[in-house]
Symmetry: C2
Subunit: 429 residues, 2 copies
Amino acid sequence: MLKLRTSDAGFDKAFARLVKDRRESDENVARDVQTIIDDVRLRGDEALAEYTERFDQHLPAEDDWRIPAEACREAFDGLKPDLRAALELAAQRIRAYHEAQLPEDRDYTDAAGIRLGARWTAVDGAGLYVPGGRAAYPSSLLMNAIPAKVAGVERLVVVTPTPKGLVNPLVLAAAHLAGVDEVWRVGGAQAVAALAYGTKRIKPVDVITGPGNAWVAEAKRQLFGVVGIDMVAGPSEILVIADGKNDPQWIAADLLSQAEHDPSAQAILITDDEGFADQVADMVGVEIALLPTAKVAKASWDAHGTIIVVNSLDEAPALANALAAEHVEIATDSPERLFDKIRHAGSVFLGRMTPEAIGDYVAGPNHVLPTGRRARFSSGLSVLDFMKRTSFIAVSDASISAVGPAAVELAEAEGLAAHARSIALRLGQ
Amino acid sequence: MLKLRTSDAGFDKAFARLVKDRRESDENVARDVQTIIDDVRLRGDEALAEYTERFDQHLPAEDDWRIPAEACREAFDGLKPDLRAALELAAQRIRAYHEAQLPEDRDYTDAAGIRLGARWTAVDGAGLYVPGGRAAYPSSLLMNAIPAKVAGVERLVVVTPTPKGLVNPLVLAAAHLAGVDEVWRVGGAQAVAALAYGTKRIKPVDVITGPGNAWVAEAKRQLFGVVGIDMVAGPSEILVIADGKNDPQWIAADLLSQAEHDPSAQAILITDDEGFADQVADMVGVEIALLPTAKVAKASWDAHGTIIVVNSLDEAPALANALAAEHVEIATDSPERLFDKIRHAGSVFLGRMTPEAIGDYVAGPNHVLPTGRRARFSSGLSVLDFMKRTSFIAVSDASISAVGPAAVELAEAEGLAAHARSIALRLGQ
């Protein structure tokens, strides 16, 4: 854990290092991923089977590649009642928040008599990657699948590896609840390639979202442009801005809630109370000991955990904007005062009663958020990731004279003679 | 030019080939671009100078890398009056259309007493690539710069190569009109790398947009994630859907207005009138002969031009959706009837008086549009490309009991103990 004070000489340098700290895997997977993509594109299901057998140590039978809808329904029906109710509450709240995100079409005629507008439509098909093993979170499935369905996507396809043939019933249950249309037992870069190019078995999709390991992330990056993707995702982050009036145990738990995700995750506390800072640091140690996820959480906190003591919390927004963190908690009495000055953040959690984890599950806004300072230029997942906009223009016989001559002038200046002629002919020139 | 009839045996196969036709450069530039990016990242301005001298055959003097605002103003003042008025009309109409695109923030408290919302903000800095030479279009500068300024971007930076030191006064004039903040004489992958990572001279930006050659496009693709980018762009396309009541000369000019952009551009006509199809084909030959851009237009039309004769225009929307073209003209009396069935298109031009070129200059909607079938999943450039959304959540003492227990249930099911504890502690558990 690193401790900094803004009043210390050398703070600027140390903070700049923190901002530049790249916690993302530099694993050199680009070439391997390209080989896999080319191979799946060329040989389709045959390549998919070979990679699946090699990486998942399991080769599904001919009729077992697709997990039937019935199996998903059964998994859902088999949930213990409290968990089923919790999933249902989460789904309902996520749906409500994302329904209000649906963009409005535009269609108007302006003063020049030209009709202009834009029409939004959903993509035909979306693919959702769901990791196998430890990171197979039903909440992530809901957070990706529900916006797609709210957007109006007709064909929503889940791919998920089933190492040694084992499926995660929680994931199947969430797929049922979210209305997923197809679930395939394939994973890794090979599954992403299959979604992008299609195989005999799996029809291609138009957009691919969902979390994954370095191979999956690299495959999405390489296939960006062949399909749409949501974002390049990195390890999770939390920035907690807290005054000294918080319970140090609560804040310690909040910091650890991101640290427990990944040894590369980062938890940062900014506080104006040095005594409180020390209490939180102590409490992190106490809390870690209680966690089944202690090993991961400790690795993250030791390597990347940071406490910054400021003279006044008024210094916090500038630091937060430079960090552009995925999650920002503001645990003060008047959090809006600071929030109004924070421009770059994935999601902000206001007040002492809003731990970040509430947003991971049941608040409603999406928990798929930009990491690695990408909140400077990108947003959390939304219905817009599954939609596209078609603009339209209608010029009438009467209105072409209002804009046509200027367009001819510009086309000629740019040396585009056919552009100019296509308008000039209609102007009777 | 290829001619197909939907009534012919073998149409499906031929049409599938047309849809799959990749007209994008496969130039193997990826490795060279990566070398340039790494070099600029490491050595900054020194590398930038070396590449500029090599590729642009020109090394600006120490104080001449940046083109002063004054030079842009002078270029604008020096325009002939008609051209200046045309640029001003274009800028005003583009601004009006994009101002209405500004997204609304959300802030509400739901039935559970939880405050939820989303706040949109502009990126701090945007970089705009403007090609040198033939493809340096002032209209493209306006189409990229104005949405950025409407979004609220404070620092808008243009990079543009000046081969042998020559600048394009039209581009400088447009930069002045659009309120560009900095113009630098650098181009190629090295300019994109400088914008993404920053050098001593050029501060980094958060988003990079704008057209360019294969090297520029590849640099943007590789730097996606370090910065935001608009899209992966390919050669231009037009699909004209026209009945037999059109003037074949007008339609020929429309087809050629895209063909003249690039030998890889594609112009396609769908008509239900075989006689009209032949008249258009003849007229394309007549019109090409009149064009200063004849060489490019002919190369495009010969290699990629296509006429599809359908039994009824009712067949057109399905073909249009499969092609997902950048530009779609519908030249019929009731174009809405077909438009209502077209889901995948960058921009649609309705009626006989709306040639695509009107949209390139003065209509208002953006002319930066998805190519290469990417209208299946992506949209034209908009203010949203220069903005990002921060969601927020505020749970009160009273409302945490409404959602907290469900969140604890889900966190425990996912094995994320610190997530569960951060909520359970606040519930007094």
